[in-house]
């Protein structure tokens, strides 16, 4: 990467991080709500661990993976909303009038959301492990969980940015949130796939990439080092990231129609 490009990425990233961290209304819910749901789920669904074949006797450990996924979805909303706001306020035009390169704009804009995801992942791990969740993979599992979490955030963040760039509307980006939650609910978020008794639900959860993102993180917490679950997790998150980034880059090209 050339010096000029590095400077541009760094400049846009710095602004993205600053504006993210200066919006408590964006940061606090992204930290609090997933943990609130973790507390409710681990308290209310603990008896699910009595089901034959349930992989752990701690529902807290099982549910902790869900917290990371919820966090990434909040972060995606943040990324999309920031881009949409820039378009709606005309800030995007300001950027377009500088020699800023498209790749620098996209990477820089997503940096804020990556920092938020890092903050979330650290908080969720500290809170989860302090509350008694296990980490079978040991300390080396921590950077892998964080990496998978950041990759997933990049994927969902790029998806949010794509929608924002295509529509230029913050409201449409907000409309993505229920869809993301539907994808979460139709995954193995509450039960392992092999314990889902309803056929269609199990089939949907099996085809749903969110299941593999969850299971990748969950495997480090419950199983230790499960190569297949990790590979599928990284494949699902990486695949989403590649596709969504390509879509966002294409939408950016259309949006930034400058000569």
């Amino acid at each position: 990467m050339s010096v000029a490009l590095t400077l541009q990425v760094g400049t846009v990233a710095r602004r993205s991080i600053l504006r993210t961290l200066r919006q408590p209304a964006m940061v606090v819910p992204a930290l609090i709500f997933p943990m609130l749901l973790l507390a409710i789920n681990s308290g209310g669904l603990d008896s699910a661990t009595n089901l034959p074949g349930f992989p752990t006797d701690s529902y807290l450990t099982f549910a902790l993976a869900l917290t990371f996924l919820q966090g990434t979805m909040f972060a995606a909303m943040s990324a999309g909303t920031n881009v949409a706001t820039d378009i709606e306020t005309g800030f995007f035009n300001r950027l377009s009038l500088t020699p800023l390169r498209r790749v620098a704009l996209l990477v820089g804009q997503l940096s804020g959301v990556i920092v938020l995801a890092l903050l979330q992942a650290t908080t969720f791990l500290v809170v989860g492990l302090s509350a008694g969740a296990s980490l079978e993979a040991g300390p080396l599992g921590i950077p892998v969980i964080v990496a998978l979490s950041l990759l997933t955030t990049l994927g969902f963040g790029s998806l949010g940015a794509f929608v924002a760039l295509r529509t230029g509307s913050g409201e449409t980006v907000q409309g993505l949130f229920p869809l993301m939650f539907a994808a979460l609910f139709l995954s193995s978020m509450a039960l392992p796939r092999n314990l889902i008794e309803i056929d269609w639900f199990r089939t949907v959860a099996t085809w749903n990439p969110v299941s593999y993102m969850l299971e990748g993180i969950r495997s480090l917490l419950i199983d230790g080092w499960n190569g297949e679950a990790l590979a599928l997790g990284f494949l699902a998150s990486g695949g989403l990231a590649v596709i969504a980034l390509a879509a966002a880059a294409s939408a950016l090209k259309t949006r930034m129609v400058r000569a």
């Binding site: 846009v12 602004r15 600053l18 504006r19 200066r22 035009n93 300001r94 009038l97 500088t98 000569a259």
Partner: protein, 335 residues
């Protein structure tokens, strides 16, 4: 690439058609000389901003060509952007960043060396009277402060050509005057070419050496303020009778001295075919008919008269209607 050029901005047959929309810009030709302030005057929706967006490379033209700073807006966009600065219609600022952070951000994106970024930013903040507020978040700035910061950001890379798209819309008179002074200083001190769009007649009159009047995407008149007013010719006289029932008689008297033109509904207005010298005759004729007048005024042609003559509509009236239309939904909600 040579940057020697005769005109700072030149456009030929510039057209922009939006999908399922009208021809927002419909064949504009213009030439702006280096160091000139060119006023682009017209009501909302006339095509002013679309023209600016095309000239600043933000929007490709559907037809036609234009060169800015000697560079083609379609094929040499990067060179055009290096030569220009722009403060577009909305002061596009990030409410979560401070004024100083904005300046550094903009300076870095323009590739200014690290040492220069701080210096240039601080200089411009000082020049535009924003030093005291430089470390405050922009979300707390007044409209005038935002506009001044917007202008400072447009100047950070020392552009040769400046596009100002309705820079004073919504500002109080004091902020408007301060911005005008800054624009005048830029032109006088640095020879910057300014392309200014506005819907304020006074603004065009004060700042611009030449004015183009745009309506429905077409330039309907162009020239210096003096030339445009001269096209209208004679002044008009407006009279309001002391008694409303005398309006018909008063109108008949006035029409002996020239063609009627739109004016107050309480009185009559005519363009004096004999010029302002006939005003005394008008007064004598009213007196001879024993007509008492509440108000009698001679109007020299204004840019609004030029707009009225060229488009059949009053620019000030159009703006007031737009402002009313904007306010009405709010009133309904409040009710």
């Amino acid at each position: 690439m040579s940057n020697r050029y005769a005109a700072a901005i030149e456009a030929e047959g510039l057209v922009r058609v939006f999908k399922k929309g009208p021809r927002a810009v419909d064949g504009i030709d213009l030439q702006v000389a280096p160091g000139e302030v060119y006023g682009f005057l017209g009501p909302n929706g006339a095509g002013k901003s679309t023209t600016v967006h095309m000239l600043t490379t933000l929007l490709p033209p559907t037809e036609g060509t234009a060169r800015v700073a000697g560079f083609d807006i379609v094929h040499q966009g990067a060179e055009v952007r290096t030569a220009i600065g722009a403060a577009l219609q909305e002061a596009a600022l990030d409410p979560f960043l401070t004024g100083r952070e904005h300046m550094r951000f903009q300076a870095a994106l323009h590739g200014l060396p690290r040492g220069e970024r701080r210096q240039r930013g601080d200089e411009l903040l000082e020049r535009l009277g924003l030093s005291d507020a430089a470390d405050r978040k922009v979300g707390g700035y007044s409209g005038g402060m935002k506009r001044r910061l917007d202008l400072a950001l447009a100047l950070v890379h020392e552009p040769r050509i400046l596009f100002l798209d309705e820079p004073t819309t919504g500002l109080d008179p004091q902020s408007r005057t301060a911005l005008w002074e800054e624009v005048q200083r830029l032109v006088a001190d640095r020879g910057v070419t300014v392309f200014l769009t506005t819907q304020y007649l006074e603004e065009a009159d004060v700042l611009a050496r030449r004015i183009g009047i745009i309506d429905n995407g077409q330039i309907v008149a162009e020239g210096t303020t003096y030339e445009l007013k001269a096209q209208i010719g004679q002044p008009s006289v407006e009279a309001i009778p002391a008694e409303a029932e005398d309006l018909a008689r008063l109108t008949a008297v006035l029409e002996r001295f020239g063609e009627p033109v739109p004016g107050t509904p309480r009185g009559a207005t005519v363009r004096l075919s004999g010029g302002e010298a006939t005003l005394a005759d008008v007064v004598r004729a009213l007196d001879a008919e024993d007509l008492q007048v509440e108000h009698l005024q001679l109007h020299q042609p204004t840019l609004n008269d030029v707009f009225l003559a060229k488009t059949g509509r009053s620019l000030e009236g159009a703006r007031q209607e737009e402002e009313q239309a904007r306010e009405e939904p709010t009133e309904r909600v409040a009710a």
